[in-house]
Symmetry: D2
Subunit: 316 residues, 4 copies
C-alpha cells in the first residue's frame, strides 16, 4: 500500500554476502523480514509479484563496473523504482577454519571478481596457493567451512556466518573500492527531495548514435543537470543497439530536472524513470557539484518570475 513503510525485504543471497550487509544499514530492514534470493531476477520478481515490499540488489562496483543483470532487469518487465541507495566499502578478508595458519594455505576459493580485486595481495602473500573459482563470495566461505578449500576470499559477514577465522583483512588491492546497492520497490510517490538527490533513468535512443546521444546530453547541459553515471547496455536486439542508464543530479520534483526530463521524453525513443532518492554520501570528499553560472535554483526562480511579468504585460 503506498505510504506504508516496507516490512518484507528480499536481497541478493546467499546469506553472508555484501548485499545482506548493505540491507542491514537500512533502518526499516532491521525490524522486518530479510529473505535471500538466488538471483537478482528472483529478488526483483518477488517484489513485482507482491511477495516482498523491497529488494536490495547490487547496481555497480567501483572496480568491476555495472552489474549488468540488475540493469537489464530494471529496464525490462513491470516497472520498478529505486527508493534508496546504499554504498558499502568492499572489504575482502581471507578466512579459514579456526586453527589454520596462513603459511599452510594451499588452496583459496574465490569468486573470480573477488580474486581479481585481490590479485596483488595473493601474489605477495600466497604466491604458491591455487586459486579456485567459485560462483559467489558466500559459496567460497561455505566451501572453506566444509573443508573443500583451505581458505576463502569473502566478506566479513560471510566469515562470521560460517564461523571462520579471519587470517587477513582488507586484502583488496584498491582500498577504496565500494559497491553501490539499490533498494527497489513497486512504483509509488518518490521519497521527498532532500536537496542532494539522484534520479536514475533508462533511455533508448534512435540508431544514429552520435546525433541522438548529442541531443540527450544537450537536453541535460542546457538545464545544468549533471550526469554522475552513464552506462550503456545492449538491448539484445542486435549489436550496436543500446539502452543507456543515466544517474542525474536532482529530484523529479525539482523544476530544473523536471524540465530536462520532459526534454528527454521528447527526444528519446523511450525514457524509463527508475526513481529519485537521496544521494548516499559515503565520503566527505564527495561534494555536490554546484550548478553552473546562470543555472542555479535561484536563477530558475528569477527567470520564471520574469516570464510571468512578461506575460502579464509588466516589463519593469
Amino acid at each position: 500500500m503506498p505510504g506504508t513503510p516496507p516490512t518484507r525485504f528480499v536481497y541478493l543471497g546467499p546469506e553472508g554476502t555484501f548485499a545482506e550487509q548493505a540491507l542491514r544499514t537500512v533502518p526499516a530492514a532491521e525490524h522486518g523480514t530479510r529473505t535471500p534470493a538466488r538471483s537478482v531476477g528472483e529478488a526483483l520478481d518477488s517484489v513485482r509479484a507482491g511477495d516482498a515490499d523491497a529488494a536490495l540488489v547490487p547496481l555497480e562496483n567501483s572496480i568491476g563496473g555495472a552489474v549488468g543483470v540488475t540493469l537489464d532487469e530494471m529496464a525490462e518487465g513491470e516497472p520498478l523504482v529505486i527508493t534508496r541507495e546504499v554504498i558499502l566499502p568492499v572489504e575482502f578478508v581471507l578466512a579459514a577454519r579456526p586453527g589454520t595458519a596462513l603459511a599452510s594455505v594451499r588452496s583459496v576459493a574465490a569468486h573470480p571478481q573477488a580474486s581479481t580485486q585481490c590479485r596483488g595481495w595473493l601474489r605477495d602473500h600466497l604466491p604458491d596457493a591455487a586459486v579456485v573459482d567459485v560462483l559467489s563470495n558466500g559459496a567460497a566461505a561455505a566451501g572453506a567451512a566444509a573443508g573443500e578449500y583451505d581458505a576463502a576470499i569473502c566478506a566479513p559477514i560471510g566469515a562470521a556466518r560460517h564461523r571462520l577465522t579471519v587470517l587477513a583483512d582488507k586484502i583488496a588491492d584498491h582500498p577504496d573500492a565500494v559497491t553501490r546497492f539499490a533498494l527497489v520497490s513497486r512504483p509509488g510517490p518518490p521519497p521527498p527531495p532532500t536537496g542532494d538527490d539522484v534520479t536514475s533513468l533508462a533511455i533508448y535512443i534512435a540508431h544514429d548514435r552520435v546525433g541522438a546521444l548529442l541531443s540527450v546530453l544537450m537536453e541535460l547541459a542546457v538545464r545544468g543537470v549533471n550526469l554522475t553515471r552513464i552506462e550503456s547496455r545492449p538491448t539484445g536486439e542486435a549489436l550496436g543497439r543500446y539502452v543507456f542508464f543515466l544517474d542525474c543530479t536532482g529530484h523529479v520534483a525539482d523544476v530544473r530536472l523536471g524540465e530536462a526530463l520532459q526534454g528527454l521524453r521528447r527526444v528519446c525513443a523511450e525514457v524509463r524513470f527508475l526513481g529519485s532518492y537521496p544521494r548516499h554520501r559515503w565520503s566527505p570528499a564527495e561534494r555536490p557539484v554546484p550548478a553552473p553560472p546562470g543555472l542555479s535554483d535561484a536563477d530558475y526562480a528569477d527567470a520564471a518570475a520574469w516570464l510571468a511579468r512578461l506575460r502579464a504585460g509588466e516589463l519593469s
Copy 2:
C-alpha cells in the same frame, strides 16, 4: 490605459512615404489621428511621453537591411513593445509634374536607398539623367512638385499627395522588395496568440562571442524555436560589443517559447522583450515552419503529462 484601443497614431514622416501607407493598413488608424514625426526617435519618444498611443516605424527592408535607428531606439531608454507588424511591398514610381514627358527628364531626385534599388531601371531608361540625392522619398516628391528637379523616385502615395503624374511604376530592380514596419506601444498585455506569431527580443551577451552565441542558439534549438531574423548592432561601448535582435517563431504565452525565454534570461547578460504579435504573411509562399520531430505542441503536452504522472508516482 491598458486595454483601450489606440486612437492617437504617429508615424515616420514626412507625409507621403511608405510609413504613412503602412499605417493606413491598420484598421484603428483609419479612425484615429495620424501625425507625422520628423524621425524615428521623435515618433517613439512621443509614445513614451504619452503624447501618442502608438507609433508606426520601419524595422527592416528586404534590400537595405535593418533600420538601425529603430533597433537602437527600441533597445535603449524606456521599454516599448511591438504589437503589430506590417509588411508592405516597396513599389517605387517615377513621378513628375503633369505634362512632363519621360524623354525630357534630365534630373531625378531620390533618397540614396531608393536610387540604389532602381539602379537598373535608371540605367536602361534614363541613362543620361543626373540623379540627385535627397533625404527622404517624401522630400524627392516635394522637390519635383516645386520644380527643383524634373522627376522624383517616390512611393505611390507621395506622387498622389504632391499631385504628380506617374511616368513609370514598379521601377525597382527587385520586384519582390518589401519593407517591414512595426506598430509600437507602451508595455501592456500582448495581443492574444493566434497560432502564427512572432516574438522579438534584444539580447546582450558576454564578450566571448562564439561560446555565448552558441549557448543562445542552443537554448532555442533544444526547444525547437525557430529564428526568422537575427541582426547584430553595436552597443556603442566599443567595437566588438553587440546587441542581437532576434525574431522567434511563437508567442510569449506559448509553453515552448516561455521555456526558451527563461533559458535566454539565464544565459544572457540581458534580455529585453520587444513584443509578441501576429505574423503578417504577405505571401502565400511563406508558410509557418513546422516544429521539428518531438518538439510540437502535442509533444510538449505529452511530456508535461508524463512528468506529472512521474511526480505522482504513477508510471503507467
Copy 3:
C-alpha cells in the same frame, strides 16, 4: 617483426569454446599454432611478453554486453591494438553423452550467461531439470562428458570436442545473438583501409561529465564520424570515474577520422588508440551508414582544395 604475418596464436580457452571457433575463421590461424589461455589477461599478457603473436579474445555479446575484463585489460598496461574483428553467431546446443534421451535429463551444466540466454527453451523443454552453474561453456561440456551432469549447454565445437551428442540445437532465446571477438597484437602499422573500417578507442574525460562528454561527441559529430558503440567502464579510482570505449566508423589513415582523433586528443584527458581494422559485416542488413550531407570524403577533398586555393591567393 612488423609486417610478418602472425603464426603463434593464443585464445581464451578452454578448448571447445566460441573463442576457438572464432579463431578458426582467421586464415593465418589455420596454419599457425593455437594455444588456449586460462583467462583474457593471460592471453593478452602472452602477446605483450612476445610469447604469442596475436590473441583472440571476446569483446562483447549482443545479449550479455561488453566483456569487461577484455576492455579493462586493453585500457591498462602495455598498449595493444586490435587488427581484426570476428563476429560469430552464438549457437548454443544441448549436448549429452551418446545414448542420453532428452526426456531423461535431470541436471544441466551451464555457464550462467549461457543458461540466461536459453531460459525460455529450458522452461519449455526441461522444466524440471536442475540447472547447475559452471565457470565456462567448455567446463559444462567436460562435466557432461565426465558424467557429472546429464547434459550441458555449450557451443557446437564443445560438443564435438567432447564427443557429445547434440540433443537440441539453436536453443538460445534470441536466435540472432552474436559475440564479437578481437584479434589483438602488439602495436604496429594498422591494416590498410578498406573503405569500411572500424577504429576503437579508450578515452578518459574530466570529472564534469555532461560538458566533457558533450565535447567529445561534438568533436565526432562536427566531422561526421559515426559512433557504432559506446561503453563506459569504471576506472577503479572511485565511483563515477569512467573510461569510455568508442567504436568509430573509419580508419586512422582517413582524413576525416584523423581530424576527429586530433580533436579528441585535445579535449580528452587521455586517448588510447586501440586499432583500425576492417568491419566484419556478418549480416547483409547491416549497411555502412552514409556520411551526412557535406561530410563525405568528396566534401573533404573539395574543402581541402578550396583552402589550398585561398592560401595561394587564388579565389576562383
Copy 4:
C-alpha cells in the same frame, strides 16, 4: 601584378572626410596617388577594373554599426580581399568660417549620423540652432565654407581643407567612438601571418536558421576560433534570407583556422573569403583572447604529431 606594392589608391570621398584621413595612415599611400570616389561602389569598381590598386572604404562604426553598402559590395560581384584594416577615432568638430562666434550660430549642417553622435553636445551648447541634414561630412564643411550654413559638424581634416575655424572639438557624445576602414585589393596571396591576425568571411546558410547557424558556430567553437564580429545582411531575395559577415581571430595560413574554414566550406551553402590581415590594435586595453584549454597552437602541434605516430604504428 601580385607582389607589387599598390601605388594607385582610391578612397570614399569627398575629400576631407575620415576615409581620406584613414588612407593617410597607410605608408604606401603617402607616396602613391589618392583619388576620391563618389561612392563605395565606385571605389571598389575602380579596383575591380584595374584603374586603382587598392580602395579604402569604411566597414563599420562603433556607434552607427556596419556600413551596409560596403558589406554588400564585398559579398557580390568580382571577388575582392581586405589586406589591411585601419581603425580611426571619430573626432567630430564644430567648424565655421573664420570670425564666426559660437553664440551666433543659428544653423548647423551635418550628416544625420554625425548629428546623432553629437546630439548631447548640440542640446547643451546650441539648443536653439537648426540642424540641417546634408549628405556627407565633407558636404557639411563645404556648405559652411560657402556660407549656406553658419557652421558644420565635420572631421578635423574637413575643417582644415575648407579653411574653417574649429569652434569646438571632440564634440561626439561617445568619446571613444571609432570607425573601422578596410583597404581592399584584387585577390592575391594574403599578407604573411603576424600572430595577431583577422580573417573576414561572408557566409550564406540554408533557410532553417537556428540549426544552420548553430552548425556554423560549432565548426568554429570546436577549433577554438573566436569570432570578433558577426553581422547579418539581407541577401535581397526575400525577408529572412541573410548573408553573415564574420571576423575570426587567426590567419588563413594557420592550421587551426584552416581546419575551421574547411568545416565552414562543408556546412555552409557558400563561403566567400574576404581576406586575412594584421589586426589593428588601436587600444592597449584590447588584448588578443588566449586560446581555450586544449586549443592552443601547441595543442594542435601535439595532436598532429600524435596522429602521425598512430598512423605509423608507433603508439609509445
